[in-house]
């Protein structure tokens, strides 16, 4: 069972002794697993369990392993699991470039950081945007910067929490294509919570249904 990818083995989250769900699955590098289900079925709880943000009222059993390493007990900041929410949530006090640099690992120093930021920006057709105030960006531009910020941190897996639901239909497809192209290129295992069947279809991977409809 060890090896590359994100492994959930008998992952069970319970609240006051009542189990919410139990999941066993493995997401291989470059693969996207879509998670669908009605609200209240525990989709966000599953995401939080993997990121390491599960409130202490929940109890967690089972294994979460990323590239053969157990994540359980590790603090959020050491899990190397990136996350994109439905809002881009760019830090309003940083410039576009600073937002991305915030994600870059410490090992990249000095001028190399600026160069890395510029390289990332040009890859998504945002050359010269480093000094911009994120407030002045369009919705699509914000979504792309948010993607660059999470990729800059060189995560080993990516979690998407309804990441495209607030984009209008035209943008939606292009941002989605960009995200999946990047995660495939970087061979990241991806877990995506979505309400939208098109998202799941575009992801091309498996679909996990949490809870029964209703």
């Amino acid at each position: 069972m060890t090896g590359k990818g994100l492994l959930l083995d008998h992952l069970c989250v319970s609240l006051h002794g009542q189990s919410l769900f139990e999941v066993t699955t493995c997401v291989k590098p470059g693969e996207v697993l879509s998670i669908m289900g009605p609200s209240g079925s525990g989709k966000s709880t599953l995401i939080n369990a993997i990121i390491g943000l599960l409130p202490s009222v929940f109890a967690l059993t089972g294994r979460i392993e990323l590239d053969g390493m157990s994540l359980i007990g590790l603090p959020v900041e050491r899990r190397r699991v990136g996350v994109l929410f439905q809002d881009p949530l760019l830090f309003p006090h940083f410039s576009v470039g600073q937002n991305i640099a915030f994600g870059l690992p410490r090992s990249i120093k000095g001028k190399a950081r600026d160069e890395a930021v510029a390289r990332l920006l040009s890859a998504v057709e945002l050359e010269g945007f480093a000094e911009r105030d994120p407030f002045t960006l369009s919705g699509g531009q914000k979504a792309r910067v948010a993607l660059l910020r999470v990729l800059a941190a060189e995560p080993c897996a990516l979690l998407l929490d309804e990441p495209f639901s607030k984009l209008d239909p035209a943008l939606r497809q292009s941002v989605r294509d960009l995200v999946f192209a990047e995660t495939r290129r970087r061979e990241l295992p991806v877990l995506m919570v979505t309400h939208d069947r098109d998202d799941a279809a575009a992801a091309g991977g498996g679909v996990l249904h949490l809870g029964e409809a209703g």
Binding site: P55, T61, G62, R78, H93, F102
Partner: protein
């Protein structure tokens, strides 16, 4: 790929670990919850408790101090005045605030007046009292306005201020407490469902009555605790009572420090007994209020279902608007008069304006004005900064634990605001005296902190809880530990509320009269203590200078707090622009 929902327990669970959002909070954060209790709750409680052995004792038996106290001429009048003034001032402020919002919720009047009240909150009580004195005294501006009509050549011999019934003091207290209650209601109003009032309107109810029936009960619950704090303050204010209150006899809270400074030792003991009586008076006033509350509720219940619509409330609404606007304008007019008096060389009675001007008051103000300003500012900055650091620590701890700070919750924070200052500050001053900490600037700052911290904490808490925590989640998933997420993400984004809370803390510290006087043993004067001391002298030019400066310092603090984010984040529209959308969750 398997999935079970609500499935049975797995037969062989590979591991069982309870995951926490952020792990146990580090020790240095726990220190903050204790520091809030140690520096706010403990002094308030210790000061109060310390008064009891002081009050029950002496050579003539354990009740002797009380016997001496009740032998002081006019003491019963003092006691009744405190009770009466506190209740009248509170009732007026609560009634005006309730009626105003009933009449004008969701109208432009609210936004206009709420712009007016923010600066009023920052004005120290003493400065507001002097402003009112210059406006309504027999030789004040209003009398000058009507003097030609009435043919007055000299100020009339009327007791318009310092009246024996204490009406001018009650009015002065209401001038300060009404803006405070307005502010509290403005904060609580968004939580009231406005569809309730719309429903009442569609059922044919008049605006005021409809609001009182539908929305007011839920609103009242939210502002009840601040109202009790207002009662506690109004029954025991010292600085305002010295300026506007009755003189012979004064209210109890003014009588106590007088007895305390009496050369006769038995009267000093009686002062301690007076503090206990003050505690009882404030408790009684709160009890009377709660009783009145019950009676009002049952009257309200029986009236509310009888079907009165009270649609024709237009005249009442106009009257409410006029009284509210006037309540706020008095303080602004007072500030203008302080300025005029501070530069007046001669200003004879019926003249509306001074005939000659001078800068003597500002250039040679008698005592060392610069050192007074410096001490006031230093105390204000120190207590505001310490309070802000403590508040940030306590709020961060709450966030990491996912629950409010330990130890009595709101009581530990509100206690200093619910107890009469004169009681526990006197107790603390005796305690510090016995420890040799009298006239110690650090002790004065520490006691300022008792009053500054609750305001700073409560102001900051609102913005803190509004903050979209997903910013922090993202920062941590990008590899930043919790402390870095706090320092690099939350604090910079919350710069504006942090500075506002600081400015408010500064304003609270500047306004402190009694703690500065008693803990400083009169040897560490500030602008406020000197201004109040001038009230007995009657040098209006100097009073103008001191009171205006006292009001000016908080204004400067708030102005800087407003400009700070605009300058620091001038290239970040979300944090400096007209719409600060970011501190709240947009969804």
């Amino acid at each position: 790929m398997r999935l079970k929902r609500n499935g049975p327990a797995v037969s062989e669970p590979p591991a069982k670990v309870t995951a926490k959002a952020t792990g146990a909070p580090p020790i240095y954060l726990r220190f903050f919850s204790w520091s809030a209790i140690a520096l706010v709750f403990v002094p308030a409680l210790a000061g109060t408790v310390y008064m009891f052995p002081m009050a029950f004792g002496g050579e003539g038996g354990w009740l002797q101090p009380f016997a001496t106290l009740f032998g002081v001429p006019g003491i019963w009048t003092s006691i009744l005045l405190s009770l009466w003034i506190g209740l009248v001032a509170t009732a007026f402020s609560v009634a005006l605030t309730s009626l105003f919002f009933a009449a004008f919720a969701q109208t432009r009047a609210v936004s206009v007046l709420s712009g007016l009240i923010r600066p009023l909150l920052a004005i120290p009580h003493a400065a507001a009292a002097f402003g009112m004195l210059f406006l309504v005294a027999p030789s004040g501006f209003l009398m000058r306005l009507v003097a030609p009509l009435l043919g007055f050549q000299h100020p009339p011999d009327w007791l318009l201020v310092n009246d024996p019934a204490g009406l001018s003091l009650a009015a002065g207290l209401a001038l300060k407490e009404t803006p405070f209650l307005f502010f509290v209601v403005l904060a609580a109003l968004p939580q009231i469902d406005r569809r309730l009032t719309i429903t009442a309107a569609t059922l044919g109810y008049g605006r005021i009555w409809g609001f009182l029936l539908s929305a007011f009960p839920a609103l009242y619950v939210q502002i009840r605790l601040p109202i009790i704090a207002v009662i506690a303050y109004s029954t025991s204010s010292v600085d305002m009572a010295m300026i506007l209150g009755p003189q012979l006899p004064p209210v109890l809270s003014v009588q106590i420090p007088r007895l305390m400074n009496d050369p006769d030792l038995s009267l000093r003991m009686a002062a301690s007994a007076g503090a206990i009586v003050q505690l009882a008076i404030t408790a009684l006033a709160i009890g009377v209020w709660l009783l009145g509350e019950r009676m009002a509720i049952s009257a309200f219940r029986s009236l509310s279902t009888r079907g009165f619509r009270l649609r024709g409330d237009g005249a009442l609404r106009s009257a409410i608007l006029v009284v509210s606007a006037w309540t706020f304008l008095v303080t602004y007019l007072g500030l203008g008069l302080l300025l005029l008096w501070s530069v007046a060389a001669s200003w004879r009675f019926p003249d509306l304006f001074p005939s000659h001007f001078t800068l003597d008051g500002w250039l040679s103000p008698g005592s060392d004005l610069i050192s007074l300003v410096w001490r006031s500012v230093a105390l204000g900055i120190a207590s505001a900064l310490i309070a802000m650091i403590m508040a940030v620590g306590a709020l961060e701890l709450e966030y990491r634990r996912g629950r409010p700070i330990a130890g009595g919750g709101w009581l530990s924070l509100y206690l200093p605001l619910l107890l009469p200052q004169i009681v526990f500050v006197s107790g603390l001053s005796f305690l510090f005296l016995s420890l040799g900490w009298d006239a110690n600037i650090f002790a004065v700052a520490a006691v300022h902190l008792v009053f500054v911290f609750p305001y700073v904490y409560l102001t900051l808490a609102a913005s803190w809880h509004h903050f979209d925590r997903r910013y922090l989640d993202i920062a941590r998933s990008l590899g930043k530990p919790p402390f870095m997420a706090l320092v690099e993400v939350r604090l910079p984004i919350l710069l504006a509320p942090l500075l506002t809370a600081c400015a408010l803390g500064f304003a609270v510290s500047i306004a402190q009269y009694l703690p500065t006087l008693l803990i400083g043993a009169g040897r560490l004067p500030t602008l406020t203590t000197e201004a109040v001391a001038l009230s007995s002298g009657g040098n209006r030019r100097l009073i103008g200078v001191y009171a205006l400066l006292q009001a000016l310092l908080p204004f400067i603090a708030f102005a800087l707090a407003g400009l700070g984010p605009r300058f620091v984040w001038r290239n970040r529209l979300a944090l400096s622009g007209p719409v600060r959308e970011i501190s709240g969750r947009s969804a």
